[in-house]
């Protein structure tokens, strides 16, 4: 993947966001009157974002228009990206399931899924680790840190 195209898209996006910050007064609510005002620093930062994003975007656009081939870090290696999407999907599923199924039920399934994603096929040690680790974390957090991880709520 050509990073210069992402640079152009990202720069445009950041410039639009920065312009909204500079022009929209509804992004702040309430607050006391001060010398600075609540939006002084955000607007300064927005101005700087426009400057830096434009620099990056223009450099990349010029390089793209000149037909130069991507060099070094400009070429993004996308091999194995499928795994990243699966991993993020597992994590989102984990976040959605934990409040209902509880930490002790969900975590072993998630650990096993990640182990399989990473190519693990040694079932006995994988299952053992996936069961023992959440139990240790759950009771360790409760007893030593007084952190109560979510439990089963589907009754």
């Amino acid at each position: 993947m050509d990073r210069r195209k992402i640079d152009v898209g990202l720069s445009t996006f950041l410039i639009i966001i920065a312009v909204i910050i500079l022009t929209n007064d509804n992004l702040v609510e309430g607050g006391a009157e001060t010398d600075l005002g609540s939006m002084f620093l955000p607007r300064i930062v927005a101005g700087l974002i426009i400057a830096f994003a434009a620099t990056i975007g223009i450099q990349s656009l010029k390089s793209l228009l000149s037909g130069a081939k991507p060099e070094g870090g400009e070429e993004i290696i996308t091999d194995g990206f499928g795994g990243i999407f699966v991993y993020i999907g597992i994590f989102i599923g984990y976040w959605l399931a934990v409040p209902h199924l509880g930490f002790l039920i969900t975590t072993p399934i998630v650990m096993l899924a990640i182990a399989i994603l990473l190519g693990g096929r040694n079932w006995v040690p994988m299952i053992t680790i996936s069961v023992i680790t959440p139990v240790l974390i759950f009771y360790g957090s409760r007893e030593f840190l007084r952190v109560f991880l979510p439990t089963w709520t589907l009754t």
């Binding site: 990073r3 992402i6 990202l10 950041l14 910050i21 992004l27 702040v28 609510e29 309430g30 607050g31 006391a32 009157e33 001060t34 010398d35 600075l36 609540s38 939006m39 620093l41 955000p42 930062v45 927005a46 700087l48 974002i49 830096f52 450099q59 870090g73 091999d79 194995g80 990206f81 795994g83 990243i84 991993y87 993020i88 984990y94 976040w95 934990v98 409040p99 975590t107 998630v110 650990m111 096993l112 990640i114 182990a115 994603l117 990473l118 693990g120 040694n122 040690p125 994988m126 680790i129 996936s130 680790t133 959440p134 974390i137 957090s141 030593f144 840190l145 952190v147 991880l149 979510p150």
Partner: protein, 509 residues
């Protein structure tokens, strides 16, 4: 100061802090030695567990993880030629050559002794220098602090990013995210879009784990088809090949001292980091060596130079953080967050408000070196075995620790969403060449900057020229321009001779 150091030692020599240091050293070596896990990842995962203990125990434990993690990185560099960070690239170059010659024990030994020597020297400098600098910086009022923080943003953004605009853009994005929620000055809610959950801003720990730790996990997931390397110590039948003798150590001691000095100096400058220190010290050692032709082919002196400089950065990077509130690199930014969570605000006042705690932490820093030496020397085989565990055992556990760490911060499931969102953002930032560590620095320093800016403007009123009346202001403006200029020069040089990237280091195996 001597009394403070003694009271620091008396505070640290108790069961709790010592257990914390031992745990930190063991965790740090294991995490550092596992290819794909760095010291920063270990600190971020351990951080939530320290919330519930005394700051002396918690902070010394984190610092022990840091020091041991940096050293642990050299184990995988030497044994399987997989440097965990760019700073260990040179160690891998000479260390792995020795491993192939059956002298892994010698390489590991010199790496350990050099690391500990470098760290001890830098820690002594930290102890002696930090308090006097803080006394000077106490003279600074809000106006001077504004310029100091502007200097910090400029230097870190200029030197740490892939390019100057990308570094500064990373810093600006961090600043923007820090302004989400209720303003501490006006009480106004900014960028909350009606979500009351955003009133307190983004929770620091999940954001930190998401931005700095989880992208490394995603990187491992992406490279999951790369074959697993088994760490193993090769042993020569000749015992002299498996250890470093005293005459050998004495012969490289000058190099260790010089490289530690270079590492200490570079570590004290914000934004340069351990890679720069290692490369400069290695180059200098090679230039002055009697056997420069051996460098890169299994030179003990080369390992000593790279490791002592690399590790000296650990101690000295604390100097700008503790005296001026400027975190010099990503680990210092993370540790600054840890200090804040423990109720210690890094800056000159820390030496007056938390004298006993800070000197206990310094004493812990020194004692950690001794424990690192003892634990690493006695447990080489154990650490190598643990670090050889396959990634499908390690990374599911890392994921669960990250989840638990993010949840622990506020016992709130929304923080997990913050973790997921910043994981994606952190990985995306790396892809487009933005620097997540600079983002974190921007995020941490912005509240201090805004507060001081408000106070400074209240002092000068409408007479804005008074902002430039103090010599401090001009010194920091001049320093900012100097660093921008030297950053540009450094980049031009680097463009001519590009150093190996982490990706290249990993692929070189």
């Amino acid at each position: 100061m001597f009394d403070n150091i003694l009271s620091g030692f008396s505070a640290i020599l108790a069961v709790g802090p010592i257990l914390g240091i031992i745990t930190g050293v063991v965790v740090g070596i294991i995490f550092g030695a596992i290819p794909g896990i760095s010291a920063i990842m270990a600190i971020a995962i351990i951080l939530p567990m320290t919330f519930y203990v005394d700051p002396i125990i918690g902070i010394t434990m984190l610092l022990a993880v840091y020091k041991a993690g940096i050293y642990g990185g050299s184990i995988s560099a030497i044994l399987i030629n997989t440097p965990g960070a760019a700073a260990s690239f040179l160690t891998a170059l000479d260390g792995h050559a020795l491993t192939k010659a059956g002298k892994a024990g010698k390489a590991l030994d010199i790496s350990l002794f050099s690391s500990v020597s470098g760290e001890m020297l830098a820690t002594l400098v930290l102890i002696l220098v930090a308090a006097p600098i803080s006394a000077i910086s106490l003279q600074a009022g809000p106006i001077e602090k504004v310029f100091l923080l502007l200097f910090a943003f400029t230097v870190i953004g200029t030197l740490a990013g892939e390019s100057i605009p990308r570094g500064l853009l990373s810093c600006c994005l961090g600043m923007l995210f820090a302004m989400v929620g209720m303003s501490s000055i006006t009480g106004a809610s900014r960028f909350t879009f009606g979500f009351t959950e955003l009133m307190a801003g983004f929770t620091f720990t999940p954001m930190l784990i998401g931005i700095l730790v989880m992208p490394e996990v995603l990187n491992v997931i992406r490279r999951r088809r790369v074959p697993h390397h088994q760490l193993a110590i090769t042993r020569s039948p000749n015992p002299a090949d498996n250890r470093i003798s005293f005459p050998e150590f004495r012969s490289v001691f000058r190099t260790i001292l010089k490289s530690s000095g270079i590492g200490t100096f570079i570590g004290a400058l914000p934004g340069l980091g351990s890679s720069t220190a290692a490369f400069i010290a290695y180059g200098e050692a090679k230039r002055t060596s009697k056997n420069p032709q051996k460098y890169g082919k299994g030179s003990v002196e080369g390992i000593a130079a790279a490791e002592s400089a690399n590790n000296a950065v650990c101690g000295s990077s604390m100097i700008p953080m503790l005296t001026l509130s400027i975190p010099g690199d990503d680990v210092a930014a993370l540790l600054m967050g840890a200090f804040l969570i423990h109720g210690l605000t890094p800056g000159p006042m820390i030496f007056f408000e938390h004298t006993e705690t800070i000197y206990a932490i310094f004493a812990g820093f020194l004692i950690t070196d001794l424990f690192l030496l003892g634990i690493a020397k006695s447990g080489f085989s154990f650490f190598v075995k643990v670090a050889s565990l396959r990634r499908y055992y390690i990374f599911p556990c890392v994921t669960v620790f990250a989840f638990t760490g993010a949840f622990t911060a506020g016992q709130n499931m929304d923080d997990i969403l913050v973790l997921i969102a910043f994981t994606a953002m952190g990985y995306g930032m790396r892809m487009v060449g933005l620097n997540p560590a600079v983002f974190i620095v921007g995020f941490i320093l912005t509240p201090f900057f805004e507060q001081n800016l408000d106070q400074a403007l209240a002092i000068v009123g409408t007479e804005y020229h008074l902002l430039f009346a103090s010599p401090f202001s001009w010194v920091f403006i001049a320093l900012s321009f100097f660093f921008i200029y030297s950053g540009m020069r450094m980049r031009k040089k680097t463009a001519k001779n590009p150093p190996a990237t982490e990706e290249e280091c990993a692929q070189s195996t």
